[in-house]
């Protein structure tokens, strides 16, 4: 109170301050319970790290994380009919939010199974024993076979999941930015925690961090412009302001473009995709699975909310851009995947192509497009988790056999494993009776109904191109003879089996009986976003 107010604004604030009651937002904790549970789990995980002995941590942390995700999922199910804006307009609980939160939590629980797998590597699983050991130093070889493991991975995952949950539910751009950071920062760390090929992993973490920070800067810059335009960071207020005439439209379009860059980066859309292959390749494969499924769902959730709520009235302005980005993303993803020799990089480019297919659903800009996108995200998430889970199982003495040539003849050595992988690849290629086809059909149909016919034609052509590199892996596995020094397939990784099994079964079910999930997505989409 002592400082003399100099500006008119501050004077005004002070004048109102002491007399008027401060408007304390009432928070409906129940409606926020999924996010709160996951945050609590993350904090509890940190405490466990601090106090529990290392041996016990290895058991407690995965249970805690998985239990927390399941509990949060139950909370989402209990909330399923909620439609409200809460915490002073900061958070929106509505159909799409709850649908996406449920999906993120399921994928996170499956990813915990993969991370917790300890039977695959010589002793400790895919996560490094001690991240601080310099690669190449004497300790580095020892840590490879050590039973130790950085159990921080679990609380980090939980923080990231909490960020994802908040990201899809944030109703103001500021909360969205905070959520973006909460979800991203742990992922940067997790990317650097691979047990094998430490240099590659650290390079991935560094690259991801630098480019991610760069894109965050774009995002917050966009938020600043939009605040300058609308006088608010609330998505609904921005939409209202965009509906009026006379404001400074330059700020609006600049803000929209910069915000778009930040979001397109997160979904891995071209031309902001270049981090994807490196990060997917370098990260521990279970973490890659987690990112590929979870981050994609969260980023698309935020993208849909921003474009449908804040810029819903401007769709004629952003649709051309989304078209261009979608086309570029599909082409880049499909064409560059053709040249890959590493299975993880190939799946990364496939993820880029799928981001493009998903963008056709966004570009449809109608309720069917929203439904299709929601369905597609779930379908793709299950398939991709199962696919990366399978990648962790095909190993040589030297870690994962990620080079494609090592997969030659796998169908002869491990027919069931190769058969499941072939099925997943066919699902990614969009063959009927798999979830991939249903998802593609849902978004393409919406896009045609939304008059985005050229986009769909490009999507179909790139689907055909993409089919080629999926099919090539099948050729390698089934039609060619195994080489002498082929990969070892570890036979009893229970947790990985469970995760892969769930993913593969869901891929089949969502292809054969997609009705229930389509209904769910349809209900979520028709009830729409609250603002």
């Amino acid at each position: 109170m002592s400082a003399a107010p100099t500006t008119a604004l501050a004077r005004q604030l002070l004048a109102a301050g002491p007399q008027g009651p401060i408007d304390v937002p009432t928070i409906q904790y129940a409606a926020l319970s999924p996010v709160l549970i996951v945050f609590a789990v993350a904090l509890a995980g940190v405490l466990v790290e601090a106090f529990a002995p290392a041996r016990a941590r290895r058991g407690i942390q995965p249970l805690l994380a998985a239990g927390g995700f399941v509990a949060a999922f139950v909370a989402v199910v209990l909330l399923h009919a909620r439609r409200q804006v809460l915490a002073a307009g900061a958070v929106a609980i509505d159909g799409p939010t709850l649908f996406l939160e449920g999906a993120i939590l399921l994928f996170a629980a499956l990813a915990v199974l993969l991370v917790a797998e300890r039977r695959l590597d010589s002793s400790g699983g895919a996560i490094v024993a001690s991240a601080a050991i310099t690669p190449g130093s004497p300790g580095a070889t020892a840590q490879r076979t050590s039973v130790g493991v950085q159990t921080e991975a679990y609380p980090l995952m939980a923080f990231s999941v909490a960020g994802m949950l908040l990201f899809v539910s944030s109703n103001t751009l500021l909360i969205m930015f905070v959520a973006l950071e909460i979800l991203s920062l742990p992922l940067y760390l997790l990317a650097g925690l691979a047990r094998r090929r430490r240099l590659l992993s650290q390079e991935a973490a560094m690259k991801y961090f630098l480019l991610g920070a760069f894109s965050s800067a774009f995002f917050i810059y966009g938020v600043a412009f939009l605040y300058g335009y609308a006088g608010s960071v609330n998505l609904g207020r921005i939409a209202d302001a965009a509906g009026t005439v006379g404001a400074n439209d330059t700020y609006l379009y600049l803000g929209m473009a910069l915000l778009g860059v930040g979001l397109f980066f997160k979904i891995g859309a071209a031309p902001f995709h270049s981090w994807t292959p490196d990060v997917y390749q370098g990260s521990p494969t279970p973490i890659t699975a987690f990112m590929a499924a979870g981050t994609k769902v969260a980023a698309f959730g935020a993208l849909l909310r921003v474009f449908y709520v804040a810029f819903g009235g401007l769709r004629w302005d952003w649709r051309p851009t989304v078209w261009a980005v979608a086309i570029l993303t599909m082409v880049v993803g499909a064409v560059l995947a053709l040249t890959q020799r590493d299975i993880k990089r190939m799946l990364a480019y496939s993820a880029i192509a799928h981001a493009g297919f998903l963008l056709t659903g966004v570009a449809a800009a109608n309720s069917d497009g929203l439904r299709g996108s929601l369905f597609y995200l779930v379908a793709y998430g299950f398939t991709t988790i199962a696919a990366f889970g399978l990648v962790t199982m095909v190993r040589t003495a030297d870690g994962e056999a990620s080079d494609l040539s090592q997969w030659q003849g796998l169908g002869r050595r491990a027919p069931v494993l190769a058969g499941i992988f072939a099925f997943l690849l066919l699902a990614l290629a969009g063959i009927p009776l798999t979830s991939g086809f249903t998802g593609k059909f849902a978004v393409f149909q919406a896009a045609v109904a939304g008059n985005a016919i050229p986009l769909v034609v490009v999507a179909l052509v790139t689907s055909a191109i993409a089919a080629f590199f999926y099919v090539r892996v099948i050729v390698l596995m089934f039609f060619q003879e195994p080489t002498m020094e082929g990969p070892i397939v570890v036979t009893r990784p229970t947790l990985t089996y469970a995760a892969v099994g769930v993913g593969a079964i869901m891929t089949l079910l969502l292809g054969v009986v997609p009705q229930p999930l389509l209904d769910l997505a349809g209900t979520a989409a028709t009830s729409g976003f609250v603002r």
Partner: protein
């Protein structure tokens, strides 16, 4: 009227059996074969019973069933049979048991050879031992897919079967093709899959287009074939949608510029796979032309008919010329099919009831005659281990029965009067002549080329003195092989003498299809005998 769900039974039985057979452990391979044979025979009997209860005089789909599948998209599981689809289902269910019996020992070949030759090939062969139950499971999946694709009366369902059917065929070529030609069979399998997939995706675009139009006109989108026929689509849109479907079917059939995958796939398939590929799978393309393209897009069909007819005639000659020049017997048979598909497309797009009936009958006859040709070639290759014409010569001396069957298959393929193909080819040419005289005359000349490629092949491989002395020990057809060819030979002759039962089933449907969209037959203005005389020259 029968309410028994014939088609669903035909669909479910092989699908369930496939799961069972796939679960059979490798060491009980014989059991897997026996189960497959029994199931496919039962399947054929069921199809036969369904055909008997079918009432050709009734319009519309029979044995129809409809249940919602994905209600959100307006997709239903709806099946039904008309004259066209029924005869093709009958053909498919007939060929599968034949193929099963023909493949009885083929799949085990690498293991058996390794045992026979001892050390030499053992290293490679033990690794390449292929699963016998998996092969027969794939055949059963394929059978379910073939029944489904012909029985579907929901366009979405049709598309699902159309694409899903590719996968078992892809594995049949890639995993069970010639053992030593790893690179070629992989290439053939991928080429087959990508061509078909690409066509399928174009069709998917058109299918989505139809759905959106139906949603605009009816309020709710539907894929129901009968409902889609009622839509009023503007000619411009019709042309685009027609092309989407047409390219998919032209790749599948295949017609002239889209055919290059066929010789590769035909040559690299195991014999059974090749029979089903050319005998039935490719018929999905020609079936699609008459079932979907013409009724759904009548204006576009008339507009594009000259183009299709031109492609058809080019295919007749191009396929025949390439066949004449082939030394690889399987490729040769595949190229003859290209010529035959030209005739089928010609009959279909002449848009006359005779031409259409002839085309559908041709589909059945081609399945029998080319199927038998592939069988015989497969027997020869299994005996001498080479597909090259030069590896044979004068084989009739050592394998007289095989040579006889070869001759019957060949004569059927070149449409000798008295054998099955003649009836259909004649109908196609007559049907074409009433509308496009010049084309019919030109196409008739293609029959001469057919005689050349068949008789030249027979002459080089079968007649004259035995060229390779070591071929003297080659055995003639075994009892199993005779059982395999017997029904085909009988049908080829029987349908040549008395094709009426099939025509009675096909004709009402074809006529209704064309009349519905306003293509009535032109009144004959010239003596029909003219074309008949041409046909014999």
């Amino acid at each position: 009227m029968s309410t028994f769900p014939w088609l669903t039974v035909l669909l479910v039985v092989p699908a369930v059996a496939a799961v069972v057979v796939a679960a059979v452990p490798r060491r009980f391979s014989t059991a897997a074969k026996q189960i497959t044979l029994a199931v496919t025979l039962v399947e054929f009997v069921v199809a036969l019973l369904a055909t008997i209860t079918y009432e050709p005089s009734r319009a519309g789909f029979q044995f129809a069933q409809k249940y919602w599948w994905i209600k959100q998209f307006g997709v239903s599981y709806s099946v039904g049979a008309d004259g066209i689809s029924l005869v093709l289902i009958l053909l498919a269910t007939l060929l599968v048991p034949v193929v099963v019996l023909a493949s009885w020992d083929e799949v085990q070949a690498p293991g058996a050879q390794a045992a026979g030759t001892g050390v030499a090939g053992a290293g490679a062969s033990t690794a390449s031992r292929r699963s016998v139950p998996a092969f027969f499971a794939l055949l059963l999946v394929l059978e379910a897919g073939m029944v489904g694709v012909f029985a579907a009366t929901d366009v979405f369902l049709f598309y699902v079967f159309f694409e899903a059917m590719l996968i078992p065929m892809y594995f049949l070529i890639g995993s069970y093709g010639p053992v030593k030609e790893q690179a070629q069979r992989s290439y053939a399998a991928v080429k087959f899959l990508l061509y078909s997939l690409f066509g399928g995706l174009l069709m998917l675009a058109a299918v989505i287009g139809l759905y959106v139009i139906s949603a605009d006109q009816l309020g709710t989108g539907t894929f129901d074939f009968a409902t889609l026929r009622q839509l009023e689509i503007t000619p411009g849109v019709q042309k685009l949608l027609f092309l989407g479907f047409f390219v998919a079917f032209a790749i599948k059939a295949p017609l002239f510029p889209f055919h290059t995958w066929l010789p590769d796939a035909g040559a690299q398939s195991p014999t059974g796979g090749a029979i089903l590929l050319v005998g039935v799978l490719d018929k999905v393309g020609t079936f699609g032309l008459i079932r979907y393209c013409i009724p759904l897009f009548p204006k576009a069909s008339s507009y594009f008919a000259p183009m299709v007819l031109a492609l058809a005639v080019i295919g007749i000659f191009y396929g025949a010329l390439l066949a004449i020049g082939q030394r690889d017997m399987k490729r040769l048979v595949a190229y003859t099919s290209l010529a035959h598909f030209g005739f089928i497309a010609l009959g279909t797009f002449a848009l006359t009831s005779q031409g259409g009936t002839g085309a559908v009958l041709y589909m059945v006859n081609h399945g029998l005659s080319t199927g038998l040709l592939f069988l015989v070639v497969g027997f020869l290759v299994a005996r001498r281990g080479s597909r090259d014409v030069g590896a044979y010569g004068g084989m009739a001396q050592v394998t007289p029965v095989l040579a006889g069957v070869f001759l019957i298959a060949g004569l059927s393929s070149l449409a000798l009067p008295g054998l099955n193909s003649f009836v259909s080819e004649f109908l196609v040419l007559v049907g074409t002549f009433t509308r496009y005289r010049a084309l019919a005359i030109v196409a008739t000349c293609g029959m001469v080329l057919a005689a050349i490629y068949i008789l030249y092949l027979y002459q080089r491989t079968m007649t004259g003195p035995l060229v390779h002395e070591e071929a003297r020990g080659v055995l003639d057809l075994s009892v199993r092989e005779k059982i395999v060819v017997a029904p085909m030979v009988v049908l080829i002759i029987a349908l040549g003498v008395y094709p009426k039962p099939l025509i009675d089933i096909i004709r009402p449907t074809v006529t209704a299809t064309f009349v519905d969209v306003g293509h009535t037959d032109p009144a004959p203005t010239a003596p029909v005998n003219a074309s008949q005389a041409g046909g014999h020259s």
